[in-house]
Symmetry: C2
Subunit: 555 residues, 2 copies
């Protein structure tokens, strides 16, 4: 699969257009039922049999979850279940995997991982609980989806099992978080995880409960009753939000312009590198002239039109565009353009109105997009020059990147600043703040910088506080930036991805950093080994009359 054959994805959908999921509501319960349309894959050369999925199915899932959060705040438990007989979900479609480019596989897995981590984030922070009601076998990614839920109920019908058949059948890993979730989230004994991951047919019934692979089982005769009971119990764990009124998530329009894309608040412009390849992208967030409404109810009335929410929804789309459809881009130069006072003020709004469910959810949405930003395999430089406004939430974008370039010239006013957004509201995947991660070795510098929170700092002060990587003056600025850009764009893209994966998440590790840092790296390694991806590799041979031929030497 080459760039030329990438599908025209918008990464947006809506329930009326769903081909693979149905989303229904009953009071504070939602039911998300998977019923994959075999002919509805993103590409035509595979059938999505047995509720197997591709990126298109996952985009619907992510959309459905977001709608539950923003359009149905009253929902307290989501029942995730399968709509076909004897099968919950067979995992990622093998033909899709075996015919995809390496980059496509990697991006597909990353997106899928993120959506599952979002489920866990909604559970932790958005007052939603998730019940995986496994009406049939959950294999591979299907079981991994279930593992992202708070509780797993498996039908006890002598056939239905949970399984990780990837290693025995495909020679790859249960890699979209699977191995990490069994050993680190459910804390299943590692020898049992090993045994489980080697049994293609999986584990069913009582043993699945004994091994903690699922929380409960129920026979068909008591199935509906048990689902109702468990979902009720889960719903009752979280606050009643029946008086909250949802907003509507509209479809976000964009315009194609010369060598770029424009949304309402976000722009992407692609620049020719000397070679003629589009290796550099300019990502620009433009603040409004004034902060606008500050009252929670008025912001709620604005809903999806509220500029902060819309800007980050647009940024989210821009990031997916960059990752999936613009593989040639090596380096993203990020600018936040506008008045620093506006950026500063919006954090005050988030603080003051945080008691309102909608403001609360938008703050968490911003947090997730920031994580997606730094989990993007592009080099990310913040360009803080004239007219920019890297303050608070927007300074997080600077910190999330690999380097911060700050123009420090007495004749040009550039102001940056810290707010509450830099002090805890936006934890990274490692559980720390970005400022805390930056100053891991010198916590006193973190405190020194935070002591200036609420002020707008000139470039000189910001540089002294350690908030910039490089702070050249006007004479050096252009040359220094140009050289840095050309240099970055000339490096091995694989080396860059590996380096960034190791430097961006210093400090403690969490399930999230383990998934993206460790498990994904091994899966990516395996995905390009001949034993998996070669002509006679297991991924290629699956479903064909050929047995895989392995080079059995261990590495």
């Amino acid at each position: 699969m080459t760039t030329a054959t990438l599908p025209a994805l918008t990464f947006q959908t809506k329930p009326a257009d769903y081909r693979h999921w149905s989303l229904t509501f009953d009071g504070d319960l939602a039911r998300l039922e998977m019923n994959v349309d075999g002919a509805g894959g993103l590409f035509e050369h595979y059938d999505l049999k047995l509720n197997s999925y591709d990126l298109g199915v996952d985009i619907e899932l992510a959309d459905a979850l977001e709608r539950v959060v923003f359009e149905h705040p009253e929902v307290r438990c989501v029942v995730v279940t399968g709509g076909i007989d004897k099968v919950f979900c067979a995992g990622a479609n093998i033909n899709m995997l075996s015919t995809s480019s390496h980059a496509w596989k990697v991006n597909f897995c990353k997106y899928t991982n993120e959506t599952r981590l979002y489920i866990e984030d909604y559970s932790e922070n958005s007052g939603k609980r998730f019940l995986a009601a496994l009406n049939g076998t959950a294999s591979g990614g299907g079981y991994e989806l279930a593992l992202a839920c708070d509780k797993l109920l498996l039908v006890d019908d002598r056939n239905s099992a949970v399984s990780f058949p990837e290693l025995p059948l495909l020679g790859v890993l249960p890699g979209t978080g699977g191995l990490t979730r069994i050993v680190d989230k459910r804390k299943i004994r590692r020898d049992l995880c090993d045994a489980f991951s080697a049994v293609a047919e999986g584990i069913k019934g009582k043993r699945a409960v004994e091994w903690n692979l699922v929380d409960a089982i129920a026979p068909l005769s008591r199935w509906d009753e048990e689902v109702a009971k468990l979902s009720r119990e889960l719903a009752d764990e979280v606050d009643d939000r029946s008086d909250c009124k949802g907003i509507t998530l509209d479809t976000i329009e964009r315009t194609e312009v010369d060598r770029g894309l424009e949304w309402r608040h976000v722009g992407l412009r692609f620049e020719d590198a000397p070679s003629g390849q589009d290796r550099v992208a300019h990502l620009t967030l433009t603040l409004p002239d004034a902060v606008g409404n500050t009252d929670a109810d008025k912001l709620h009335a604005e809903g999806a039109d509220w500029w902060l929410f819309r800007m980050f929804r647009e940024l989210n789309l821009a990031l997916l565009e960059l990752r999936v459809l613009r593989p040639e881009v090596a380096l993203v130069l990020t600018r936040v353009v506008g008045k620093p006072e506006v950026a500063q003020a919006i954090d005050g709004v988030l603080d003051n109105a945080s008691g309102h469910w909608f403001i609360h959810e938008v703050a968490h949405y911003v947090k997730r997009v920031l994580k997606r930003y730094e989990n993007t395999a592009k080099s990310l430089y913040a360009v803080m020059d004239e007219g920019t406004a890297f303050v608070g939430t927007f300074f997080e974008l600077a910190l999330a990147g690999d380097r911060q370039y700050l123009l420090n010239d007495p004749d040009v006013e550039v102001r940056v600043g810290l707010t509450s957004a830099n002090a805890g509201r936006n934890p990274m995947a490692n559980g720390l703040t970005r400022l805390g991660t930056r100053f891991l070795g010198t916590p006193e510098k973190e405190q020194e910088a935070l002591a200036k929170a609420g002020e707008l700092l000139d470039a000189e002060t910001a540089d002294e506080l350690g908030l910039a990587t490089f702070a050249p003056d006007d004479i050096d600025w252009e040359d220094e930036l140009r050289i840095a850009i050309e240099e970055r764009a000339s490096f091995s893209p694989d080396g860059l991805t590996g380096m960034e994966a190791n430097l961006r998440f210093a400090g403690p590790e969490t399930m999230e950093t383990k998934i993206f840092g460790r498990l994904s790296a091994w899966q990516n390694w395996i995905f390009q080994r001949p034993n998996a991806a070669g002509e006679r590799g297991a991924l290629k041979c699956y479903g064909t009359p050929h047995k895989p031929e392995f080079d059995y030497n261990r590495t």
Copy 2:
């Protein structure tokens, strides 16, 4: 490089045979000077220029360090320095890397990583401090070696720098721990790490100190004086051991037998898998009939002949043999043969005599070999059947593996047991005990098992305590084990390596797990990407007239 061309390595050497290092002593100071013999590489087709190294150089380094610990307990500080003009060490030899098989590169990096972690272990636990006296430029792996030391002193001569040129010059990572050590050990700001890793020529002088890349600089005129001062300061940090008398590490002999290798206490036997390939190895540790001396002074007099020490030195060699020279082995079946009482008694000896420096050092040696065992990319099954003695230290071998098979038959006596060795003496790379990692989700089971420490348990009890993965009776034993072995040996070796890397180190992460779990995985991924290893990849083109040709698409 195919198996057929692997060199006849023994993984042993002695100072009189060193070609690349010199080790000299002056009271409580040792000087370890690198002076690589260009013509002394393991393979003939490359020259080890500019103090660059290959596995042979690293085997000498590991030997020298072990001799400092066991033969020179009086040493309190080791000065690691270079013996050639203007260069400390140029890192791993590029021609060696570019002409090596993927497996060789991976094993080479792993061994090198382990040796550097040993330096840090000696500093933490063996009363040795290390001063990297960088008399010239330290590049790549050369700088990484310095980073493993407690303090780094760089000569300030306007030329000498520390550098990570891997990304800009070779398209790979500073991967033998480099990125992890700058961002997680020295806790350098991640944007500065990013900038540093992109500058091929490195950073020198005051800036190297400001960025915390080195601890101090000194001009040539004050070099010797400064080295003397810093090494004295470091030495004074640790206890005086001038009254301790070293032992002698003799060369360990082994015998080649039919389809196997035999050492005094350890045996390796290779078994034909159905395909005819040697995919299964039997690793057997044989206990002596009695525990022998228990008095510290007598054990000290036995020195390298003390059976416990010798057994683990032999196990260490067997593991290196398996990793580097037996790539075809997929699965190791480990047995500890002998009387459970002897295994139990030896832990009592280690407890009672732990105040003696030699016993203390042997205990830490055992700990390191256990880590090397579980850091070996082979499937590891403990076979606990008739005549075995998995107790205490030896039960760690069972826990370190992927599965524990325990014969639970009323007519056959199999006894296992826990001791103090399972309660803290042998932390894993993640910082936890193996029992703690096993019962991460059920700490009460860890306590329940530890409450039986000091007892010999029958198979039934051990199984009930969760100490076995599978505990079949005599009727099922052979079939179950046979099927498990055949199944394991049939799986994709890459899938197995990836799975084991993710399941073996559950729980918290440390610098060590990050090095082996995250950084190594990314490096392994990059090592097989065409941009590095392809015909026009950066590794292949380095040192030739050709410029590398990259596929610039990011993944």
